[in-house]
Point group: C2
Chain length 392, copies 2
């Protein structure tokens, strides 16, 4: 019943252990914002708190591990903190008077183009917060906000700082973009196969339908086998047909000439990724040999299903095209190789469970290492020979 | 991305503390079933584990507190265990050789018509499991399954026992029942107001749409203001219109004469409750006076919204009809008075977050105390004067 985490503004707190990151999140959630849900931390993920912030909307606070640990455990915490940075839309950095480690982190975050809010926490127990703040300003060029999770001093300043640093494209992101407008008739072809849990719609379908209703479109949904009777039930051809990528070709063959065609996964390629890089990279499929290596990256960590698209269908289509020996590695969830350069192609899922920032971090990594990267929908459209006939 | 908990078969484990309830759940989830998700226990709810069982489908295991505690804390645990029984589709009772407390619980569960599976756990460390089992059979008339969470002995027997005790109507439950069949055109009027979180569909809408697709219907979705252009975009009138209850009257006035009308909340009244009792009880609204007391029961525990149906809209409609002084109490989540007899009417929400068993337990309680009980959709239909014009 909540806004999906992947659609929330990701605000991560960085700082040493005991710098007060958790109490700060509690102070923010306890008073100024309505707590919606907690997700307990696991060994691989930092603690997450979803909430609404007035003037911002649905947010997700990420409580990263402190970064001042030594030894093996310290390294693991460091890796997790760096991983969190890949998803961060806005960073809150809790400053320590020494500022040595903090300056390093500030630089790391700025290199990733992440807007940073500097905080001087524990104002209620610091002897001279103002002079510490001026030292920090000398070192960073910026005055930190002086706050206290204990007394809640400065919580409203944090909220305003977040609003000032909202990424320009954060709320402007749209799944269907300029493809449809109010009053348009849109057909959604949604086979309810084994991948959709009983009684539920998968997230891209639910999110797309919600957006179409918000845009005042008329959204007609059917399964693949009912597509023809559905078209007959309409008094005009749909402006746009959005299909599950798995039946791209069937739907293309049955669609009215006037109707534009795309897929949920293709729309998510633009919504969550870099459609230009994805489409350019798709052509790489044609150059693959049996000795090539392909990486398939699946966001969901669900148990493999018998006809799973990432684990079964897409590998089968690729091997039919390239050869049975083609080496395909599959990673899921947050697993993604630090050095993907050994791959000739990366194929990312629709990534409805990831936030945009995280997918863009992966793409940046692929580009840096000159590895082509595409996504499920674009790859299937290319393999079906209709990539030039669909809408983005 | 999961089947909603409210749609899962609820299997609760009852037994003394340290009878091995949790390890048994772990044994079941670790090997024989695919673990989907954990929900950590809270002070008011028992621990829940959602998973798939082969041959059954999506289940929810409920790990109740042991019932052999003494003192104040023991009473709290007892209350929680009884509360869990109200949601239980199938009970697993872990037997103790003494069987004194167990016989009481067996009777309690049977009085609630809950099918019970008797287990003798810890078979690997019991000296003579077979003779203990025969003592239990003498006392209960039933042989317990002899199992061990440690060695996993008997896990498959448990699965088969669950399948044998599946409630007959468990999988037959349908939201739209006989109202629609394959190929039917169904219009869903879904205003995306403040109650729907950004980027999401509310559960009854998503569940109904999913069912319509499973039934091979053509599902057309629009917001209230687009209803007329949507009807024009169709080549025939919809067989059925399902609307959000809040705009029941508007939709009734605009609908084609041939189209049948119902609401999500009315469909859920039958799906999750007792439609006969709900509709009979709705007439009570006409007999209420300003001195009457009404209880509104809301399943969601979300923070109150400005135009919340249960907290704002329905009370306003009732007070407009009955008088400003009408006393309305609102409870949410699992809160429900043990003795609702002081109320003249109970109005339950659509209960999409509850399982059917739990709603039926509430209705049984209301009936026993001769308190009329209806739900949001039926109440709004009655207040809009169209209860006799809609479909169940």
């Amino acid at each position: 019943m909540m806004t999906p985490n992947s659609n929330r503004l990701h605000i991560a707190l960085f700082g040493r252990r005991n710098s007060g990151k958790s109490s700060l999140i509690n102070a923010l959630t306890g008073q100024d914002v309505a707590l919606v849900s907690d997700t307990p931390g696991t060994t691989t993920d930092p603690v997450l708190k979803a909430m609404e912030i007035q003037g911002v909307g649905p947010c997700l606070f990420i409580d990263t591990p402190g970064y001042d640990d030594e030894g093996e455990l310290g390294e693991m915490r460091m890796t997790r903190t760096l991983k969190a940075a890949e998803k961060t839309d806005i960073a809150i950095l809790l400053c320590h008077p020494d500022m040595d480690k903090e300056l390093q982190w500030l630089q790391r975050l700025k290199e990733k183009n992440i807007p940073v809010i500097l905080l001087l926490n524990k104002a209620d127990i610091l002897e001279d917060a103002a002079s510490i703040a001026s030292v920090i300003k000398n070192k960073t060029g910026e005055s930190p906000l002086i706050v206290s999770a204990n007394t809640r001093q400065g919580m409203e300043d944090i909220r305003r700082a977040i609003i000032r640093r909202l990424p320009e494209d954060f709320d402007a992101q749209s799944i269907t973009g300029k493809l449809v407008s109010a009053g348009d008739l849109v057909l959604l072809v949604m086979p309810q196969d084994i991948q959709a849990p009983k009684g539920r719609l998968i997230l891209p379908q639910a999110q797309t339908l919600r957006e179409l209703l918000d845009k005042k479109c008329i959204a007609v949904s059917c399964t693949t086998d009912q597509m023809e009777v559905t078209l007959q039930a309409l008094s005009r051809p749909p402006k746009l047909i959005i299909t599950d990528s798995q039946v791209f070709k069937t739907v293309y063959e049955r669609k009215p000439a006037e109707s534009k065609l795309t897929s949920f996964s293709v729309l998510f390629a633009a919504y969550k990724g870099d459609i230009g890089y994805y489409t350019a990279s798709a052509a790489t499929i044609g150059t693959l040999k049996e000795t090539s290596r392909v990486l398939i990256a699946e966001a969901c960590t669900h148990a493999p299903l018998s006809e799973d698209i990432g684990r079964v269908k897409l590998p089968r289509m690729l091997r039919q095209k390239i050869g049975e020996e083609l080496q395909i590695d599959i990673v899921s969830g947050n697993d993604f190789p630090a050095n993907p350069e050994k791959y000739d192609l990366i194929i990312q899922c629709g990534a409805c469970m990831f936030n945009r920032k995280y997918v863009l971090s992966r793409i940046a990594q692929a580009k840096e290492q000159k590895v082509p990267m595409t996504n499920y929908g674009i790859a299937i459209a290319w393999l079906s020979g209709i990539l030039d006939k669909i809408e983005f």
